[in-house]
């Protein structure tokens, strides 16, 4: 299909890409001093006051998160375009439960995931002979450990926390897949799934994409995501700014702190009705960490917001009977709580 590529009468692609990259870098270097200058010189607010610190936090963080988000999501979407589920399915179908769960969790990191694709993905995997446990390892890992969250964590908190988050998420996915696989829950998959077409009859599709297709896809996806996330980011960073400027450290510590032994399960339960993309939770995470919430509790909150989402469960109910869905939720929640406690215990 390359030969058919439409010639658009525009500026050459490399030029546009390079210009965008340079503009991004300039903005990244200039945004912190600019935010400071606006807060303390233009608005004339004072250092050290609640209000001044809150405004400075907001003005510095919003552009920073927006820049990180646009830059990283574009690059990551571009990379993910090379790993569609259609391509990784045959890889997973050939493996047993244990190697398969490891592979699925790892591939879940780079594969694009949208909860509206969860059902065809589930059916497609199970049909093609991917073991149930391996399918679940993928379903857990894909929304939770995505590279957007990783790179944002890296950019805001450094490599240590990012790698810890990844290790934790992969562990939950692998252990979850192994547990579900060992439990032998195949009979709780909705009956019609097993009655569908034999996998051999399913066509292997291959679609050729040009670089121009890939770049414009990545940019469109990023633009949509940022637009969708913007109100939440403003609210999240606003909340973060309030926490940063006003919330007494004692209050955060009392609810989420070390002295409350139930902090980890509490934040996990709080996260269930909250549904957000991993990237959307980061400003809140940043503010909570800054106020002294322990790392394990904070990461448990973040993992729960992304991996335990009511809308996704409603969708998955169409392919799973209740016991299987309950086991899925139970395994993921238990995994997250365990990791939260573990991190609080190890990192102190």
């Amino acid at each position: 299909m390359t030969t058919l590529a439409l010639r658009r009468p525009t500026i050459p692609l490399p030029v546009v890409t390079a210009a965008a990259a340079i503009a991004w870098l300039m903005a990244w270097i200039l945004e912190a001093p600019a935010a400071d200058w606006v807060t303390f010189s233009v608005l004339g607010l004072e250092h050290g006051t609640h209000f001044g610190e809150a405004i400075a936090f907001f003005l510095e963080d919003l552009p920073k998160v927006l820049l990180l988000l646009t830059g990283i999501v574009t690059i990551v979407t571009l990379i993910r375009g090379f790993f569609p589920p259609e391509r990784i399915r045959p890889i997973l179908a050939r493996r047993g439960l244990v190697p398969g769960s490891f592979a699925a969790a790892g591939l879940g990191v780079v594969t694009p995931f949208c909860s509206c694709s969860a059902v065809p993905l589930f059916i497609g995997f199970v049909e093609a002979g991917v073991p149930l446990g391996v399918t679940f390892a993928f379903l857990i890992s894909s929304p939770m450990v995505n590279e957007v969250a990783l790179v944002m964590l890296w950019g805001l908190f450094g490599p240590g926390i990012a790698l810890l988050y990844m290790a934790a998420g992969l562990t939950v996915a692998i252990v979850g897949g192994l547990v579900i696989g060992r439990l032998g829950l195949e009979r709780y998959v909705a009956d019609y799934v097993w009655k569908l077409q034999a996998p051999a009859a399913q066509p292997m599709i291959s679609i050729h994409l040009t670089w121009s297709d890939r770049l414009s896809d990545a940019w469109m996806y990023t633009r949509d995501l940022v637009r969708k996330l913007l109100p939440y980011l403003v609210a999240g960073i606003g909340l973060g700014a309030l926490i940063h400027g006003y919330a007494p450290t004692d209050l955060v510590a009392a609810i989420g702190g070390r002295s409350n032994p139930f902090a980890v399960p509490i934040v996990v339960v709080l996260a269930v009705p909250m549904y957000s993309n991993a990237a959307g939770t980061i400003p809140i995470v940043q503010a909570l960490l800054g106020k002294g919430m322990p790392l394990g509790t904070t990461l448990a909150f973040m993992m729960a917001v992304t991996a335990i989402s009511l809308p996704e469960f409603v969708i998955l109910r169409r392919v799973m009977k209740l016991p299987l869905l309950a086991v899925f939720i139970g395994v993921v929640a238990t995994g997250i709580v365990t990791i939260g406690y573990l991190f609080n215990f190890v990192v102190s």
């Binding site: 569609p84 949208c114 993905l121 059916i123 399913q202 066509p203």
Partner: protein, 80 residues
């Protein structure tokens, strides 16, 4: 008469693809019907797992992305 099928669960992206497909039919000036396939079993049977997918006359031309109207029109006119 061409057949265009949009594969997807009815999410925002699938509706956008359907709109693009309809626009493409107008641009290409061909006679075509645009169908929306929402049954997950049917979607998987075409080998597609990442929605939205696009099928023209039974052939999968795109999956997991939203091609624009101009691209779809090109597929409609060049691969008749």
């Amino acid at each position: 008469m061409r057949t265009i099928e949009v594969l997807g669960s009815g999410c925002a992206n699938c509706r956008r693809l359907e709109a693009n497909a309809r626009e493409a039919v107008t641009i290409a000036g061909v006679e075509a019907e645009v169908l929306h396939v929402t049954d997950p079993g049917d979607i998987v049977a075409r080998g597609v797992m990442s929605t939205p997918g696009l099928v023209i006359d039974g052939r999968v031309v795109s999956a997991g992305r939203i091609p624009n109207a101009a691209d779809i029109a090109r597929w409609l006119t060049t691969e008749a």
